[in-house]
Amino acid sequence: MKGGYVLKAGIDMGSVMVKCVIVNGETIITKSAARSGPMPEIIAETVLKQALENAGIDVSLIERIICTGYGRHIFSKAHATVTEISAAARASFLLSGRQRCLVIDVGGQDTKIIEVDNNGEVIDFLMNDKCAAGTGRFLEMMAGVLNTDLTGLGTLSLKAEKPVIINATCSVFAESEVISLLAHNEKKENIAAGIFNAIAARISTMLNHFQGNIPVFFCGGPAEIPGMKMAIEKISGRNIKIFDNPEFVVAYGAALG
C-alpha cells in the first residue's frame, strides 16, 4: 500500500452495536456499524463486508483484523484481540493530538474512565460495576419508557425547566421510578434531564478519582446524544471534548493495533 502502510480492520463487538473501522496506517478509510444480536459472529462478518464494500476493497488486502469489545473472542477471523480499554486509549491518544488525557467511554453495558499518559499508555482505569446503570443500555431503557429514542431523550432533556431527581441507582428500579413520575404527571422534559443528571453524577464520581487538570475526551455511542456532555460538564465542573464519530473510536483504536 501507499507509503508502506498496511490495511487493518478493527471490529468493536459491543453489547449494543458492532462497529468496524478500516485504516491505512493511522487514516480511517471506511467504517460501518450494525446492531448487535444473538449471532455476533455473523454480525461482525456483515459489518466487515459492509465496510469493505463501502471502500471498494477486497478482503484479501486486509493484513490484520483486530477485535475488541465484549464479543472480541468470538470472531474466528480475528488475528488478535485487544480490550476496549486499550483500544480506546490508543485511539484517544492519537485523536487528542498525542497528549496526556482522560477518556470517558460510555458503552452499551459499561462506562469507563481511562487515564492515558504522555506516551499513549494506559496508566489507570475505572469501570462501573456489573449493573447497567449509567450506561447506554440504561439510556435506551429510559428512552423506551418515555416513548422516544436516544436523540429524542436528549432533545427533551434540553427543554427541561426543573429536572427531577432520579434516586434509583439500578436500571430496573430507575425504570420503576420514571414510570411512577409519569403517573404523577411529571413533564417528560424534566424526567429526561433527571435521567442525564443521574448518569452524569455517576460518571463525575468516577472522574473524581483522577486529577482535575487533565484534558477530558468523551467517546462511545451515547457521547453523541444531545445534552449528555453538558450534563457531565455541569456536574463534574470539567470541560469535555467529544471526538468526531465517537461510537467508532474504540474500533479505530483496535484497528491501530
Binding site: Y70, S86, D110, V122, D124, F125
Partner: protein, 413 residues
Amino acid sequence: MQKKFLSQYSEMLLRNLKCNHPDSDNIAAVILKYMKKSNISSMEGFYQAIVDFERNGMDTREKPIGFFCSVVPEEIMLACGLRPVRLCCEEYGCWSTGEEVVPGDVCPVIKAVCGKFYSGACDKLETVVIPGTCDPKAKLAEILSPIKQVYFLDTGRDSEYLNNVDIWEKKYAQFFQFLKEKFYRNAGRSQLLSACKLTNSRTEIFRNIYQLRAERPDAINVFDYYIMIYAGFFMDVKKWSTLAEKVYQQAKQIYRLDNTPRILLAGTPVIFPNFKILDVMEDSGLKMAADLQCTSFGRFYNPVMIDEETESGILRALTLKNIAGSMCPCMLNLEKLVNLMIDTVNQYKLDGVIYYNLRLCQVFELQTALIRQILKEKNIPFLSIKTDFGKEDTGQLKTRMEAFREMLESRNG
C-alpha cells in the same frame, strides 16, 4: 430463653428450605478440573483430603469445633484436643440456598454460611465459635444459636496491641476455660505450648511456599495453592504440614521461564470451590504471586512469638498473632495494610495489585478509593474489582483483568 424463642421461628424458616440448589457446584467435578492442572504429584493428598471431607463430612471422633475468622485462636482449640474447622464459605450453592433464609442483599459470606448450616452440612458440629469482628458475624452468632451451641468471642475492633492486650488476654482465657469445661479437658500451659509449636511449624512451611510462589508463581500453580489453603480449614495441622513440606520440596525443583505479570491479590479471601477470580486471572494472563488475605497470609504467615512461657504469656502471644495481626478490614488499619501492600510489591518485585472487593462487604469497599490513591502515588498499578459468588459477571471481570494485563505489559515494555 433466647434460644427457645428463636428455635420456634427458625423451624418455620427451615421447613420449606429446598437445600440443594440446582446450580450448586459439583464438588467432584470442580476438584477434577483443578487436579488436572496440577503439576505436583504430592498435591494429590490435599485434593483427596477435600474429596473425603466433602463426601464424609467431619469426623466426630476428632472432636471438631467450628470457627470463623483468624481472630479465633486455633491454638487454644488444639490445646484442648479439638479439631478446629474453619467454616467461612463462598460456595455458590450454599449462597443461593442461604437466600431462602436471609435477605438477598446481605454479606454473601453470611448468606453462604447460613445456607451451609441450614442445608445440614454442619450437622456433626456441636459447637461453633463466632467472633464479633463485623456486624454480620455478630448477628450470625444469633441466627445460628437455635441450631448450634455458639460461643461468641468478641474481641472488639481496635487492633492496637498495647491498648487492648489485657482485655484480649481475658477474652482468650475465658474461651480457654469454656472449652476445658465443655469438653472436660485438663489443659494448661504445656498443652498451649505444644499447640503453638504445631502451628509455628506450619507457619515455617507456609512461609517457604509463600516466598517460593512470590518469586516463581508457576512452581505451585494458584489453584494448588488455594487448595492447600482450603485443606488447612479442616485438616490435622501435623498432617497438613507434612504434606505441604512434600509439595514444597517438589515445587522447588520446578523452573519455568515466564514473563506473565505477577500480581499481589489483596482484599476478600478466595475459598474453594469459588475460584472464579483465579480462573479469570489465569485466563487473562495474570499470575497471582502473593496474597494478603485473611484465610491464607493472615492465618498462616505469622508465628506465635512467646516472650514468657507462662499461661498468661502464651495467651498474650496468641492475641498478638491472631488479633493484632488480623488481616480483616474491620481490624487492620489502612496505613498498616497499605504499607504491607507496598512492602510485598517491592520485596518480590511484583507488577501490580488486584484488590478483590466482596459485593455487600462495605468495609473492604470503604477503603478502596484511598488505597487506589496511595498506590497510584507510589506508582504501583492497581485494579479493584467488585464481585460476589455469582457467575454472571465473568465476562466483565475478564475485560478488566485483560486490560490490566495489557497495561502492565506496555508498562514493562
